[in-house]
Subunit: 208 residues, 2 copies
């Protein structure tokens, strides 16, 4: 008889294999059978854990978002980092890493994988907005940020950051990036209502 722990391990194994297949072959071209073959389990076992391929996808997306959120949380806990840097580093840290593989990231961004992108964006905003609400409240209390809409501003910053720099929506030539990053940082300052140039220090990071 399986223990709960074995069940959890089995579930994680399915997720791990499915994730690899989805990014390698694309979501549409991966069948439940493909997953079964590699995990080496019966169909019934799969359906004991997941009701459909879609449910596996949703679970993977939540995993990816969760991994990003945990990286962000570690940074946000470190109050020795100046507030603005802490927020910016957390936003940058939460963007998904796919074992550093550009190929896998590109696969995620293909038109066929638009579903993955959309589910990710939705889950990321739901998870990250409350996380960042706290340091923003800190900034409001310290009178460094000024906005009547802290939640909405964070939501917009996260959404813009993702859409402009992590998704494949913008097809910018590599040489316009410095301008685009500079504009984004200036607009973050405005959305948080902090003083102009507050993020200049941060900008130096991109100047190499």
């Amino acid at each position: 008889m399986k223990t709960i722990k074995e069940g959890e391990v089995r579930k994680r194994e399915i997720l791990l294999v499915a994730r690899e297949l989805f990014v390698k072959k694309g979501y549409d071209h991966t069948s439940v059978n493909d997953i079964l073959k590699i995990v080496d389990i019966a169909k019934g076992t799969f359906y004991y854990y997941f009701s459909s391929k879609e449910e596996v996808l949703a679970a993977i997306i939540l995993d990816i978002v969760d991994e990003g959120a945990k990286r962000a949380e570690r940074i946000l806990k470190d109050k020795s980092i100046p507030l603005m840097n802490r927020i910016m580093m957390a936003i940058m840290a939460q963007a998904p890493e796919f074992e550093g593989s550009d190929e896998i990231k590109e696969e995620m961004h293909k038109v066929e994988n638009a579903k993955l992108e959309q589910l990710y964006t939705k889950a990321m905003l739901q998870r990250m907005t409350p996380l960042l609400a706290e340091p923003v409240r800190e900034g409001l209390e310290q009178d460094v940020f000024h906005t009547d809409y802290p939640t909405e501003s964070i939501e917009s910053i996260l959404l813009l950051g993702h859409m402009l720099f992590d998704s494949n929506i913008m097809e910018w030539e590599i040489d316009v990036y410095p301008q685009k990053i500079q504009a984004f940082l200036a607009n973050i300052e405005r959305l948080l209502g902090t003083k102009e140039g507050e993020l200049n220090g941060f900008l130096q990071m991109f100047k190499n």
Copy 2:
């Protein structure tokens, strides 16, 4: 022998039928054969105009964006409308209308249609950003707007407007919309660097 005009009519007919099928059945569940059956043409005729179903989709998306851009252009031409209202009305007017049918819009927003959404967002930004650059320049010259990044601010406003209010990314309850709209308008003011409250008049439109 077909004249160029007949060819153009045939092409438009394919696009019209395909568009209806894509929104009704979903893009993935529509085959080139489904399109052929309704337009009543041979496979060869279809492939004379389009190399693939993907190409049909791309053409439809450009049509939808173009229809929106034309509505925006008509508004932007009318210099009797105060600048800020002109910009806001143009942004609102360009959002796609599907013959007013909410059902069709919902179909577009289903996860299966994430491709449509992504292609639309990309094409919309490419088309609308230069269109709005002109009135923004007007605002900069008149000293009502203040930003070093007019293009990027317009890009961000268009992207946020679409993602927050026209896509299915945010799953807000109906009662939070007034707050979300108010926040968006306040953030537009900041992104354009106009004075706070400049869009208050516009806000009244949503208060009924």
